[in-house]
Symmetry: C2
DNA sequence: GCACTATTTCGCAAAACGGCGAAATAGTAT
DNA sequence: ATACTATTTCGCCGTTTTGCGAAATAGTGC
């Protein structure tokens, strides 16, 4: 019998998931998985306007998924939430339609990590 | 040098994150973490109208985070995405303001799992 | 100070989302 | 078929999110 998770915790989780719930923001995280990047790099990677990318970054930062670091004229962003990359790998393992059904064992370290590259 | 993740994969991930990005839907998943539940139970747990809860369920089902099972008059839902619960635990470990900074080791099996109960 | 570059904030319009009650659907029983 | 229960779908409407260009801000060099 597990106790019900309290509202604050649920809200915090939802904030993170909302921040992650956008294709372009996931593209940004994909870039940051390799190490920090300046906004200029991320603008190139995403392909939207500076203002749009900047807003995506502020959403991720507000949720504390990423953090920034100003150096000179540039601002560098880096991934801060530790569990994101391995969770992504687990999600990718459950491609839509392929029926996973509570298979355990996802979540730790580095999975085979297929599904890369177009 | 990691290759860029392709668009389809990003879209699939975003769909899942969007589905998870709502307080009430996380409450539903919290209930389902204990085992399957009929819609009536979930309506009680969430505290919104049937139509609203039903829509939340359809969002989660469409994203294949949960699956349903009709038995008689009732519909039972169950969790289907294996990595969700452990990811939640990792998220909870990074409470806002507490600075996690790339600490690895989240993601596998069952963490101490604090943050339960109001 | 002025010019220049990198980035964020603002203000707007379009699209997506969330919640509700009413109506529709489906299963069971009589 | 009718009645009853469990659940989903629909239509409306208010709120939030998104994307953009323009303007604002911040850091550097002269």
């Amino acid at each position: 019998m597990k106790l019900r998770t309290n509202l604050q915790v649920l809200r915090r989780r939802a904030e993170i998931f909302k921040a992650l719930g956008h294709e372009d923001r996931l593209r940004i995280l994909d870039e940051l998985a390799d190490g920090e990047r300046c906004v200029c790099d991320l603008v190139k990677a995403v392909g939207s306007s500076w203002s749009t990318v900047s807003r995506h970054l502020s959403v991720l930062k507000e949720a504390e998924v990423i953090a920034d670091d100003k150096r000179g004229l540039q601002v560098f962003y880096r991934l801060v939430l530790p569990c994101v990359p391995s969770f992504m790998d687990c999600l990718d393992a459950s491609r839509k339609g392929e029926s996973v059904e509570m298979r355990r064992g996802c979540g730790s370290g580095s999975q085979p990590s297929s599904a890369r590259a177009s």
